[in-house]
C-alpha cells in the first residue's frame, strides 16, 4: 500500500503517457480500420447518454466472512420500488473457490472473464477472436442457470447466457504487448501490463460484438480478479435466482435496481454494475455533464460503449486509479470536489493539492445528483473493498452502517430499511449477526470532515498487523478444503504463493468461539478484519470492548431473579413504565445478555394479556432512551427489547376474531376484515409484514381506512420502508396518534394536519413535507428534505437531519434537532417572525457516543448555507464556543439570544427534555462542566433584514 499518501508530484508522466498511447487504437474511428465495414461511433452519441435513467436503488455490504448471494436478495427486494424491473445487477467480490469449481490459486491469480452472450451462437466466434489467441484458460464454460427463466418471478426477458473463463495472458502475448506498446519500458509491472491487456481486450470485444453493431451479440460483463458481475433485464434479485447464486458466497456484494426511462429493453447491457478493471460500480443519479466527461475521456482515448453515465463513472475511476495511480483520497476528490467553506477548512497542504486536482479534472467531475457504490478486489493484497461516495450536494439518499463483533459487516444502501433487511436475512442464518447495526450514519458530500466517502476494507488478518493466531499455511498451495461446517482448526491457510486463504465454510471453527462463564459468546480472532475509514483515512469503529448477544441461546434467569420479578409485578400492576425503565437502569450493569432476555421476556409475558399498553410503553421507553450500556452493544440490547415488544404484539387478538382487548392486531392476511374499534378497544396494531411499500394495498393505506373506521391510536410495526405513514388522512386529525417501529419509509407525515407521529428509531427521507399542524417525534435521525414546504407543526428529532431540512418552509413550523444538519439548513425559509407566531429551528449540536454519553459535536453545524436566502424565521443554535462563522451564511446574520428568545424556545426544550431525557440544565446549559446563562450558550441566526430591523429597534431603545 505504498500508494497511500503519495503526493501528486509522484505521478509518473511517462507511465501515463505510455498507457494512454497504448489505447490509441481503441478510438472508434481507428477501429474502423481494424474491423472492415464497421461504422465508427457517431460523435453525436457523446452529447448525452441515450440510456438515460434517473435514480435507482443501490445496496452493498462487505463482510469478514463470505456469505451467500441470498443475502443481497432481501435488500434488493426492499428496493424494488427504486427500480422498474428493466435492469438489475449484482457483483460479488471475494469469492470462495469451491463455489466456482476452481482452486484458490486460480481464483486469486486468474482473471474471471465473463461474457454475456446475447446471441448464444456468438460464443465460438468470441472465443476464437478474443480469448483463445491470447489467454491460457484454466477453467471455462457457461455458468449454470435455472432451466426456464419464467420460473423466476417477475422475469419477463430471458437473461443472456454467460460464459465464464478463468484466464491468464499467455506469456508470449504479454511480452509482445508490453514491447509493442512500450509499457514495460514505462515501468509497468508484468501484472499491470496484463491488466491493461485484459482491459483493452474487453473494449475491443465489446466494440466488435456490441457497441458498433445494430444487432448486439455479446459483451463483457466483467474481467476482474476475484470479482464477478451479473446483470439482467429484471429486478436485481432475479439475477441471483436465475444464475443460481443464492448459495454462492462472497465477502462483498453489491446490487442495483435500475430505473431506465426507456421502456423496451431486451438486453442488460445498460444495467449496472459496470466493470472498471478490478472494480464494479453501481450508481444512483445522473449527470448533467455527460458530454463534458465523455470529452475528457475521449481526450485520453477512452470511449464509452454502453452510453450510460454509470459506465463513464467507472472509466474515470479506473483512469485515475490505474493510469494516474492516484491514492483513493485524490480519486474521491476528483469525483466530488471539496468546495466553499469545507475547502477553507482543509489544511493548507491539502488545499494546495486539491486545487491542482480540481484544476486538472474538474471537467470530468460528475455534475449532478449521484451516489456510487463500488466493490473492489485488491487482488495484490488479497483485500476486498466496498466504498460509497456521494456527490458534493448530497442529492441522492445514502446510509452507511457498521456492525462489529465476532463477524463484522459494513453496509451501504439507498435506504436504511435495506440495511436492516440485509441484517435480518443474515442473522436469520447465522446468530453472530444481529438484526440491528451498531452504527448508522450519512456521509457529508465534499466535506472537510469525511469527504462524503467511506471505504470498507476486508483484509486478511495476517500480513497486515493483525494477530496471526488462528491462521496457518497450506503446504499444498491449494485451497484449504472446508469440512462442510467449519474451517480446519488452523482457521486460515496460506497457499504456496504466500497469499492468504480465507475462510470457506459456512460456519465458524468451534475452537474459535466459545461462551464465557456467563454464557455470553466471546469474539474469536477471525481470518479477516473489516476496517472502515473515510476519505481522509480516519477510522470509523464501534466500541471494541462491547459485545453482541447470541440471540439463539436460551435466556437464563439472573441471580436475584425474585427482585426482578417483584419489580415487574409492581410496574405492571401500577402501569409504571418509568419504574420499569429505572429498574432496568439499575440492573443493566450487572445483568448479562441472557439474563436481560429473561427479564424482558418475563415483562412481555406479564403484560401481554393484562396490560399491553404499559408493556409496550415501557419497552419502547427503553428503546427510545440513550444510556450507557457498559460492555453490551446497544444494537443487541435493541434487538432484545424489540423482541420483547414482538412478544407482546403477537399475543394481541386479531381483528377478525371474537377475542377483544385494548389492543387489536391486523395483518396482511386479515386486512380485508379490518373493522372499527369495539368498546374498550383503543389501539390498532398494524403488522406491516407482507404489505407492499406503496400503492392501494400498503399498510399506510390501511391506516387511513382504520382512521376512517374510528381508530385513534395506530401502531405500525415490522415496517420495511413502507412509504406515506400518516399521509392521506385529510385535515383535522388532532385526535390521532401513530407510532412507527422498525423502518417506516419516505414521506412519513407529509401533509399532516393535527396528528402526532412517533418514530421509534431512525426515519427516512422527505418527512413532513407540507405538514401543517401536529407533532412529530423521531427517536433517531431523519433523512433528506425534512419538512420541505412545511407550514406549521412541531417536530423533535433526537439525532441528525440530513441535507436541506426545512427548505422552503413557511408559516410556523417549530423544530428541535438535537444533533445537527448536514447542509442547507432552512434554506429559503419564509416563516413569519418567531415572536409573532412564526417558525424556527433549535439545533443543539449534540450526539450520543457509542457508550451512551451525550457529548457536543465538534461543530454544532458543519455545513454551509445556513438559513440561506431566507426571508423569515430564525434558527437557534447551541454554539457556546462560537464556532459558527459568517462564511456559513448566505443572506443571514448572527444575533445574540435575547431574553424573549429564550422564553420562546424554553417550552420546546422542556418538551424535548420530556421526550428524550436531554436536560436543559445538565445537558444544554452546562458547558465544560459549568452552568452558563442561555445567551452564552445559544446564538440566533435570522435573515439579514430582520437582524437590521432588530438592531435599529435596540438603537431606539437606548
Amino acid at each position: 500500500m505504498k500508494r497511500e499518501g503519495a503526493g501528486i508530484r509522484e505521478i509518473d508522466a511517462g507511465r501515463v503517457r505510455a498507457l494512454l498511447r497504448s489505447r490509441a487504437h481503441l478510438a472508434p474511428t481507428a477501429m474502423d480500420g481494424l474491423v472492415p465495414g464497421r461504422a465508427g461511433m457517431p460523435t453525436g452519441l457523446l452529447s448525452r447518454p441515450p440510456e438515460a435513467e434517473g435514480g435507482c436503488g443501490v445496496t452493498g455490504f462487505a463482510c469478514t466472512i463470505p456469505v451467500g448471494g441470498k443475502h443481497i436478495y432481501e435488500p434488493s427486494i426492499q428496493m424494488r420500488n427504486r427500480g422498474n424491473g428493466k435492469g438489475g445487477g449484482i457483483a460479488a467480490c471475494g469469492l470462495v473457490p469451491e463455489d466456482l469449481g476452481v482452486s484458490r490459486r486460480v481464483l486469486e491469480e486468474d482473471y474471471i472473464l465473463q461474457v454475456a452472450l446475447l446471441d448464444p451462437g456468438a460464443r465460438g466466434e468470441v472465443e476464437a477472436a478474443f480469448i483463445e489467441p491470447y489467454f491460457d484458460i484454466d477453467h471455462g464454460g457457461l455458468i449454470p442457470t435455472v432451466d426456464d427463466f419464467r420460473d423466476v418471478p417477475l422475469l419477463d426477458v430471458r437473461p443472456p447466457d454467460v460464459a465464464r473463463y478463468f484466464v491468464r495472458l499467455k506469456p508470449s502475448v504479454l511480452s509482445r504487448f508490453a514491447e509493442e506498446k512500450k509499457l514495460g519500458a514505462a515501468g509497468l509491472s508484468e501484472r499491470e501490463v496484463e491488466d491493461e491487456f485484459v482491459f483493452q481486450n474487453s473494449i475491443a470485444l465489446n466494440n466488435r460484438y456490441y457497441a458498433s453493431l445494430g444487432d448486439k451479440r455479446a459483451f463483457v460483463l466483467s474481467h476482474a480478479r476475484n470479482l464477478i458481475i451479473l446483470k439482467i433485464v429484471g429486478f436485481a434479485e432475479a439475477a441471483v435466482q436465475y444464475y443460481r447464486m443464492p448459495d454462492t458466497r462472497a465477502h462483498v456484494w453489491i446490487a442495483h435496481q435500475r430505473f431506465p426511462t426507456k421502456g423496451r429493453v431486451w438486453h442488460p447491457g445498460g444495467a449496472h454494475p459496470f466493470i472498471g478493471m478490478n472494480e464494479a460500480l453501481v450508481h444512483n443519479g445522473d449527470f448533467a455533464n455527460y458530454h463534458s466527461v465523455s470529452e475528457y475521456l475521449a481526450a485520453r482515448d477512452i470511449y464509452p460503449q454502453f452510453l450510460t453515465d454509470t459506465e463513464v463513472s467507472v472509466l474515470l475511476f479506473d483512469l485515475w486509479n490505474r493510469v494516474y495511480r492516484y491514492p483513493m483520497e485524490y480519486i474521491i476528490e476528483a469525483l466530488a470536489p471539496t468546495t466553499e467553506l469545507d475547502f477553507d477548512r482543509l489544511p493548507a497542504e491539502k488545499q494546495r493539492i486539491y486545487r491542482q486536482i480540481q484544476a486538472a479534472h474538474i471537467h470530468a467531475s460528475p455534475d449532478g445528483p449521484w451516489f456510487f457504490i463500488i466493490a473492489r478486489s485488491l487482488a495484490e493484497t488479497g483485500e476486498f473493498q466496498l466504498m460509497g461516495i456521494t456527490d458534493t450536494a448530497m442529492l441522492r439518499p445514502q446510509v452507511f452502517a457498521l456492525q462489529e463483533g465476532e463477524v463484522s459487516i459494513g453496509l451501504i444502501c439507498s435506504e436504511k430499511q435495506a440495511i436492516d433487511a440485509t441484517l435480518a436475512s443474515l442473522s436469520g442464518e447465522d446468530p453472530r449477526f444481529t438484526p440491528v447495526a451498531d452504527l448508522y450514519w450519512n456521509a457529508r458530500g465534499g466535506s472537510h470532515a469525511d469527504g462524503g466517502a467511506f471505504l470498507l476494507t476486508v483484509s486478511p488478518a495476517d500480513g497486515h498487523g493483525w494477530p496471526s493466531a488462528g491462521t496457518g499455511r497450506d503446504a499444498h498451495g491449494n485451497t484449504v478444503p472446508a469440512d462442510g461446517h467449519g474451517w480446519p482448526s488452523a482457521g486460515t491457510g496460506r497457499d504456496a504463493h504466500g497469499n492468504t486463504v480465507p475462510a470457506g465454510g459456512h460456519g465458524w471453527p468451534s475452537a474459535g468461539t466459545g461462551r464465557d462463564a456467563h454464557g455470553n459468546t466471546v469474539p474469536a480472532e477471525g481470518p479477516y478484519r473489516l476496517r472502515v475509514a473515510n476519505k481522509f483515512g480516519k477510522a470509523v469503529s464501534t466500541v471494541p470492548d462491547q459485545r453482541h448477544c447470541d440471540l439463539s441461546a436460551p435466556p437464563v434467569a439472573p441471580p436475584r431473579a425474585d427482585e426482578d420479578t417483584a419489580a415487574i409485578e409492581r410496574c405492571a400492576r401500577e402501569g409504571d413504565s418509568n419504574g420499569f425503565f429505572a429498574h432496568l437502569m439499575t440492573r443493566l450493569p450487572v445483568m448479562d445478555f441472557d439474563a436481560l432476555r429473561w427479564f424482558v421476556d418475563r415483562w412481555a409475558d406479564r403484560t401481554a394479556a393484562e396490560a399491553p399498553a404499559v408493556g409496550v410503553e415501557a419497552l419502547t421507553l427503553c428503546m427510545d432512551r440513550r444510556y450507557p450500556t457498559g460492555d453490551k452493544k446497544r444494537s443487541s440490547l435493541l434487538a432484545i427489547l424489540r423482541g420483547g415488544l414482538e412478544r407482546i404484539f403477537e399475543r394481541q387478538p386479531l381483528c377478525d376474531g371474537e377475542r377483544t382487548g385494548t389492543h387489536v392486531r391486523v395483518t396482511w392476511e386479515t386486512r380485508d376484515r379490518l373493522r372499527g374499534p369495539r368498546p374498550g378497544e383503543t389501539t390498532l396494531l398494524i403488522d406491516a409484514r407482507g404489505f407492499p411499500p406503496e400503492g392501494g394495498e400498503c399498510d399506510a393505506e390501511l391506516a387511513v381506512k382504520a382512521y376512517r373506521a374510528g381508530w385513534r391510536r395506530l401502531v405500525h410495526y415490522n415496517t420495511r420502508g413502507t412509504r406515506f405513514h400518516g399521509v392521506g388522512l385529510g385535515p383535522g386529525t388532532a385526535a390521532l396518534r401513530i407510532d412507527c417501529y422498525d423502518n417506516p419509509g419516505d414521506y412519513l407525515g407529509s401533509g399532516m394536519d393535527g396528528l402526532e407521529i412517533r418514530v421509534h428509531g431512525n426515519a427516512q427521507d422527505q418527512l413532513c413535507q407540507i405538514s401543517k399542524r401536529g407533532k412529530l417525534v423521531v427517536y433517531g435521525d431523519v433523512g433528506q428534505t425534512f419538512l420541505y414546504g412545511a407550514k406549521g407543526g412541531e417536530a423533535y428529532v433526537l439525532g441528525n437531519a440530513a441535507g436541506r431540512p426545512m427548505i422552503n418552509a413557511v408559516g410556523s413550523p417549530r423544530v428541535v434537532i438535537n444533533g445537527t444538519a448536514l447542509d442547507f439548513l432552512a434554506e429559503s425559509f419564509m416563516a413569519g417572525s418567531p415572536h409573532d407566531g412564526g417558525g424556527f429551528a433549535v439545533v443543539n449540536g449534540l450526539q450520543y457516543d457509542l457508550h451512551g454519553r451525550l457529548l457536543p459535536l465538534e461543530l454544532p453545524y458543519p455545513g454551509g448555507n445556513l438559513l440561506s436566502l431566507a426571508s423569515g424565521g430564525a434558527i437557534y443554535i447551541r454554539d457556546p464556543h462560537r464556532t459558527l462563522v459568517d462564511e456559513q451564511l448566505n443572506g443571514g446574520a448572527y444575533r445574540p439570544l435575547s431574553a424573549a428568545d429564550w422564553r420562546l424556545i424554553l417550552p420546546y426544550l422542556e418538551e424535548n427534555e420530556r421526550l428524550f431525557g436531554i436536560r436543559i440544565d445538565r445537558d444544554l446549559l452546562t458547558v465544560d462542566g459549568s452552568l452558563r446563562p442561555p445567551q452564552a450558550v445559544y446564538r440566533k441566526v435570522v435573515p439579514r433584514k430582520d437582524a437590521e430591523a432588530e438592531s435599529e429597534m435596540e438603537g431606539q431603545g437606548e
Binding site: A52, G54, N84, F259, G695, G728, G751, M830, S871
Partner: protein, 501 residues
C-alpha cells in the same frame, strides 16, 4: 356550505360581452368632424356597430371605432365614409394598436382575441387572427387543406372531445368537451375574479382550470370538479384537502417559459389574503425553488406521484415539464411513474412575470418537442396510454390544431385567456399591484376593474369561438374528430420548407 356571490351554474351560451372601456383600442380610428349633421346615414350603413344613435336621441354617438373593420368595406355599399353625405368621416390606422404586444402576440392577435371574447364569433377578416409575426414556430406552419371535404361529413357530427385517462387503470375516465383547458395561475399573481372566470368557463365547457401554486381559493369549491390542484416546487398552499378534492393533480416540475427557474412572488404582491392562502406572512417575498427538492431522479419522481396517488386515490396525475433536450426521456419517465397526463410546456409562453432572458433562450420550441415526444412514445408502444398536452404559446385555435397535428392530444392555454379579459401584453405582470387592466393583480382597488360575470362571459365567448374555428378547420380537413388530427403532420406544411414538401 358558504354561499358565494356568483351563481354556481354557468351557461355555455354566447352573449355579447363588450369591453369594459368606452373607447376600447381598435385597429382603426374613425374621426367624425364638425361637418356632421346627425343625419344618421352612417348608423344605417355600418353593420359592425361603429355608429350608434341610441333610441330617442338626436345625436349620433362618438364612433365605437374599435369595431371598425377598416378599408375592407369600401366599395361594398356598407362603408360609412362613402355613405356620409357631408364627408364628415375619416378613417385612419389607430397608432395605439400598433404599440401593443410583440411579434408573437401581434396587435392583430390581441384584437382578434378581444373580438372573439366579445362576440363569441370568429373575428373579422380584417385581422390576421391565425398567426403572429415571429417568423418561426406556429407562425410558419400552415395546414394543407384538401380541395373539398369528403361528402357526408357534417359539422355537427365532428367531435372535439378529449379523454384524459388512457392508462386503463382504476381511476376515473375523465373526458373534456374541447381539447384544451386553462393553465395554472396562482392566487396571488392573478385577480381572483379572473381566476373565477376561468373556473366557471371550465365548468361551462366541462373542462378544467388549474390553481397554479398559490393555493386553492375557497371560492373555487363550487367548481371543484373542474379545478386542477397544482403541486409546484414551493408547495405553497398545498394541503391534503386540496389534493383530495381535485379530479386532477398537476405536478409543476418546470415551466417552459423559465426552465431552471422557480416562481418568484415579490413581497408587494404578497398581500394579507395571498399570504393567508399560501400560509405565509404578508409582505415577504416568496420564491419557489427549482426543482422539487425531494425529486432528483425518476424514482424520486415515481415516489412523488405515489405520494399524491396515496393522498387522493381517485385523482388523475399530470406532470408539467418543460422541453429540455431529453424531453422524450422525461416523457417516458412520466408514463412509467404512473402519470396520466404529460403536460409539455414550451418556450413561447409565459406572462410578463417570466424573465425575458429565460423566455427567449432556454427551452426547446414546443413544435419540436411535441413531435419528438409523440414519435418516441409511439416507438415505446405507449403513445395511446398517456395524454399529451402542449402548452406554451398556444394563442389561437389554429395554434391548438397545429400542436395536435404535430402529435399532442390537446392543449393548455394561459395568456389567451388573459387577453380575452383585456390584457394588452404590456408584460409588467410581476409588478403586481400595477396591472392597468386589473388582471394580474391582488390590489384591492384594481380588483374592482373586472367582475366575475363579465370574465366568465368573455371566456365563454372565447371558448365558443375557438370551438367553432376548430370544427371549421376539422371540417375543411375532412376529419370527423379532433383525435383523428393527432399526429397528422402530413396535413401541415412549413413555409420555410414549402418547396421540399
Amino acid at each position: 356550505m358558504r354561499t358565494f356571490p356568483e351563481p354556481a351554474e354557468v351557461s355555455r351560451e354566447v352573449r355579447p360581452a363588450p369591453p369594459r372601456y368606452r373607447n376600447e383600442i381598435g385597429k382603426y380610428g374613425i374621426h367624425r368632424s364638425s361637418r356632421c349633421v346627425d343625419c344618421g346615414r352612417c348608423v344605417e350603413t355600418c353593420r359592425y356597430g361603429v355608429h350608434v344613435r341610441p333610441e330617442g336621441y338626436l345625436h349620433v354617438m362618438r364612433p365605437y371605432d374599435y369595431r371598425c373593420i377598416g378599408p375592407d368595406c369600401k366599395d361594398t355599399g356598407i362603408c360609412c365614409i362613402e355613405a356620409c353625405p357631408r364627408g364628415a368621416l375619416k378613417l385612419s390606422a389607430n397608432p395605439v394598436s400598433e404599440t401593443m404586444g410583440d411579434h408573437r402576440w401581434t396587435p392583430d392577435l390581441l384584437l382578434s382575441t378581444w373580438a372573439m371574447a366579445e362576440t363569441g364569433r370568429p373575428p373579422g377578416t380584417h385581422l390576421e387572427s391565425e398567426v403572429g409575426a415571429s417568423g418561426g414556430g406556429f407562425d410558419r406552419l400552415r395546414f394543407r387543406f384538401p380541395d373539398s371535404p369528403p361528402a357526408g361529413l357534417r359539422r355537427e357530427d365532428i367531435s372535439t372531445r378529449l379523454p384524459l385517462n388512457r392508462r386503463g387503470d382504476s381511476r376515473p375516465r375523465i373526458t373534456i368537451d374541447v381539447p384544451w383547458y386553462g393553465g395554472g395561475m396562482s392566487f396571488g399573481s392573478t385577480n381572483i375574479r379572473a381566476l373565477l372566470g376561468k373556473a366557471r368557463v371550465a365548468k361551462a365547457f366541462n373542462g378544467f382550470t388549474c390553481t397554479g401554486e398559490g393555493g386553492y381559493p375557497e371560492r373555487f369549491i363550487p367548481y371543484r370538479d373542474h379545478v386542477i390542484t397544482q403541486v409546484a416546487t414551493g408547495l405553497f398552499g398545498v394541503r391534503e384537502e386540496t389534493i383530495q378534492r381535485a379530479p386532477i393533480v398537476e405536478f409543476k416540475y418546470a415551466q417552459g417559459a423559465k426552465p431552471g427557474l422557480g416562481g418568484h412572488l415579490l413581497g408587494d404582491k404578497n398581500t394579507p389574503s395571498v399570504a393567508a392562502m399560501r400560509e405565509t406572512v404578508a409582505g415577504v417575498s416568496l420564491f419557489s425553488p427549482f426543482p422539487f427538492h425531494s425529486v432528483y431522479s425518476v424514482e424520486d419522481h415515481k415516489k412523488h406521484l405515489d405520494w399524491i396517488a396515496h393522498v387522493n386515490p381517485r385523482a388523475l396525475l399530470s406532470a408539467k415539464v418543460s422541453t429540455p433536450g431529453d424531453v422524450d426521456m422525461v416523457a417516458v419517465g412520466v408514463y412509467y411513474a404512473g402519470g396520466h397526463i404529460l403536460h409539455l410546456d414550451g418556450s413561447y409562453g409565459g406572462t410578463g412575470a417570466a424573465p425575458n432572458v429565460a423566455k427567449k433562450n432556454i427551452a426547446m420550441p414546443i413544435e419540436y418537442a411535441i413531435g419528438r415526444v409523440h414519435r418516441f412514445l409511439e416507438a415505446e408502444g405507449i403513445r395511446d396510454r398517456i395524454t399529451v398536452i402542449a402548452s406554451g404559446g398556444i394563442r389561437t385555435p389554429a395554434d391548438a390544431a397545429k400542436a395536435i397535428a404535430l402529435g399532442a392530444d390537446g392543449c393548455v392555454i394561459g395568456t389567451a385567456e388573459l387577453v380575452a379579459l383585456g390584457c394588452i401584453r404590456c408584460t409588467a405582470c410581476e409588478s403586481g399591484r400595477g396591472c392597468a387592466r386589473g388582471i394580474a393583480t391582488t390590489d384591492d382597488a384594481l380588483l374592482e376593474l373586472i367582475d366575475v360575470e363579465w370574465c366568465t362571459q368573455r371566456l365563454v365567448n372565447l371558448y365558443a369561438a375557438w370551438r367553432h374555428a376548430l370544427v371549421e378547420l376539422l371540417y375543411r380537413l375532412g376529419l370527423d374528430s379532433v383525435s383523428a388530427l393527432r399526429g397528422r403532420t402530413d396535413l401541415l406544411t412549413h413555409l420555410d420548407y414549402d418547396d421540399e414538401a
